[in-house]
């Protein structure tokens, strides 16, 4: 019952006016960010981090703000999926399959309501999962030494490359590129500069926030410039209709929500999977077991409930490894990790022991945020529908400029802005070449920790390589890493979202 007591303390932290207000703002902004095509959870949070950072918010409020945005974006993505047949972000891709047909049949309001309830169910139970699973994982993590941590980082990259990307070689390239970027700057242990080319600005290394905003947010602007997606979705301005669903319809979708929540949560906890995979697995599974009359794909409410419960549950699940181990499982949690590192907080088992107020305050805020999101997304959904009318030709310039403001706000340095532009162009080229961006970010974020743990392990054992495999825990992690990387190569395309293989994924936002 320790857990529940900690959770109660967490509510004491979260229930201040300031934190409630930040959660409200975060949920509101998040829903908008999720709803707008072209802005998803990872680039939305990426743009907001520098701002939260420069505003000088302390750790807990800043984290509450950003995770509310994260949860909000997961809710918001469905709005444009249903009304416009354009996923607002990648995890909402599966929602278009049944959501849009329902909207065309004049049931847009009900589709929004069902998906809103499904989102709530998924997120709510996943947050409970987080409450109980994270402390257990922490207990395991306390047994980790440097060698195990090094293996854990390898595992994160391996599963990310194996499960979540189409071409393992390119994922490995991306991870190495990210790690390489992380080695730039003065070496923390011996004090010698590495890869700095005598440039003073590089001695500090490359700020990961600069890399993240460039890769995620600016590259999106370039994608839009390339396609000149000037039109807004306004042409499809649909009547929303009744926003309170019939009770019968809700009851029918409850089993689908339940199953999808469990599947989504598991997908989220596994490193490298994330919300897109969560919604994909949930939808396919639900279709396989309950599509008896062939109604899926033609506007079946269960076809909306499943992916929405799945992606929101995965969003909660992805927070488990991020908080308990410091190893994010998806793009957005990687961005949240960046936020923590920027605030000088290292997530992992020690976070639970030394800053329980941060962890439990955050979790309590997630519960509160969920209730707020439910309230926002049922009666007030028409408000967000109106936001969709903003054309991208005005939206994207604003996104670009806010990115500049955020990065300039951190350091006031022109050099950082230049580096960010370079990352923006790099991100665009790599997206065209189908190189995943998330391993790059993960590399930039974890490179330092990874090297530190490796060298610590070597120092303890006086440079004996075999000591990396000297405990069963380490061997297990290595084995899991190898399986996670190799198995998808053999099993092939079976587990991977089919839709992600189509070119639409190129412009999509890595959840």
């Amino acid at each position: 019952m320790d857990t529940l007591a900690s959770l109660a303390d967490g509510f004491a932290v979260a229930l201040t006016w300031q934190n409630l207000f930040l959660a409200l703002i975060g949920c509101f902004l998040g829903t908008i960010i999720g709803a707008l095509p072209g802005l998803g959870p990872s680039n939305g949070v990426a743009i907001l981090i520098p701002l939260a950072f420069t505003l000088g918010l302390p750790a807990t409020p800043a984290l509450i703000l950003l995770t509310s945005v994260y949860y909000g974006a997961m809710y918001g993505g469905r709005i444009s999926s249903i009304l416009l047949n354009i996923p607002g972000d990648e995890p909402a891709l599966m929602t278009t399959l049944d959501g849009y047909p329902m909207a065309r049949a004049g049931k847009a309001g009900e589709a929004l309501a069902i998906s809103g309830i499904a989102s709530f169910v998924g997120a709510f139970f996943a947050t409970w999962g987080l409450v109980f699973l994270a402390p257990q994982l922490v207990k395991v993590a306390l047994l980790f030494g440097p060698a195990e941590y090094f293996a854990l980082f390898v595992l994160a990259f391996a599963t990310l490359g194996g499960v979540a990307s189409r071409n393992q070689a390119k994922a490995a390239f991306a991870a190495a590129l990210g790690l390489g970027i992380a080695t730039i700057g003065v070496d923390g242990q011996t004090g010698v500069p590495r890869f700095a080319f005598g440039e003073v600005h590089l001695y500090d290394g490359i700020d990961f926030l600069v890399a993240i905003v460039g890769l995620f947010a600016l590259s999106e602007v370039f994608i839009f410039l390339e396609h000149r997606a000037g039109g807004s979705g306004a042409d499809g301005a649909m009547k929303v209709g009744r926003v309170i669903p019939r009770w019968k319809m809700v009851r029918e979708t409850v089993p689908a929500m339940g199953r999808s929540t469990i599947l989504g949560f598991i997908a989220g906890v596994l490193p490298g999977a994330g919300a897109s995979l969560g919604s994909f697995i949930s939808y396919t599974f639900e279709k396989r077991i309950s599509d008896r009359n062939g109604t899926f794909g033609k506007g079946d409410p269960r076809g909306i409930a499943a992916p929405e419960a799945g992606n929101n549950a995965a969003a909660g699940g992805a927070l488990v490894p991020m908080l308990a181990l410091g190893v994010p499982g998806s793009g957005t949690t990687a961005v949240l990790l960046a936020m923590l590192l920027a605030l000088n907080i290292t997530p992992g088992p020690l976070l639970f022991q030394q800053n329980p107020d941060v962890v439990w305050g955050l979790i309590a805020a997630l519960f509160i945020g969920n209730l707020m999101l439910l309230a926002m997304n049922l009666p007030m959904v028409s408000l967000f529908v109106r936001v969709l009318l903003i054309p991208t030709r005005y939206l994207m310039p604003a996104v670009a400029m806010i990115s500049f403001v955020g990065i300039y706000g951190i350091s006031g340095s022109t050099f950082d802005l230049m580096v960010m532009i370079a990352f923006g162009v790099l991100g665009w080229v790599l997206r065209k070449l189908d190189v995943p961006l998330v391993p790059i970010i993960l590399g930039v974020l974890l490179g330092d920790q990874m090297e530190k743990n490796l060298r610590r392990a070597m120092t303890i054992h006086d440079g004996d390589w075999t000591m990396l495999f000297n405990s069963w825990l380490a061997i297990g992690l290595w084995a899991f890493a190898i399986v996670g990387f190799v198995l998808p190569l053999i099993v092939g395309r079976y587990f991977r979202p089919k839709i992600a293989d189509e070119p639409i994924a190129e412009g999509a936002d890595p959840d």
Binding site: A172, A176, G180, G191, L225, T392, I421, L454
Partner: protein, 143 residues
């Protein structure tokens, strides 16, 4: 073809990275592992991954036509100019110009692009500087 070029580029990058790693000067304090070993590992992974991409390229991505590429190049140039002139002419003026340009290139009519640029600049200035107190570049006119 694009993938092969990309892979060759990756190999060159890996070679350059490994060469630079050999140039890291050692200091008198050191751990058994040293500052070079981890970069060597990364460089090797980079090289192997690039080699695989060269040998097993994916299908050709759809590259934009030349005018579209030029568009992206111009936008990059505008952003670089923005970063360079930001301190000289201040946040509001620079942002208005850059945002108007981007909005125009994304398909807005010239007049509405100018209005959008000014609105975005002033909007950000009001929200982030006046309300939230973020420090933005101050130009010759005080904003």
């Amino acid at each position: 073809m694009s993938d092969r070029i990309f892979g060759v580029f990756g190999l060159l990058l890996a070679a350059f990275y490994l060469w630079q790693a050999t140039q890291i000067e050692l200091s008198f304090i050191s751990d058994p592992f040293g500052p070079k070993a981890f970069p060597y590992m990364i460089g090797i992974v980079l090289a192997v991954a690039s080699a695989i991409v060269v040998l097993k390229p994916d299908t050709e991505p759809e590259w934009p036509s030349f005018p579209r590429l030029f568009e992206i190049g111009m936008a990059t140039a505008v952003m670089i100019a923005y970063a360079m002139f930001l301190k000289e002419y201040g946040f509001v003026a620079c942002t208005a110009v850059a945002a108007a340009y981007l909005s125009w290139r994304l398909g807005a009519a010239p007049l509405s692009a100018v209005i959008a640029g000014i609105a975005i600049a002033i909007g950000i200035y009001v929200i982030f500087h006046l309300v939230l107190g973020l420090s933005l570049a101050r130009g010759p006119w005080g904003f």
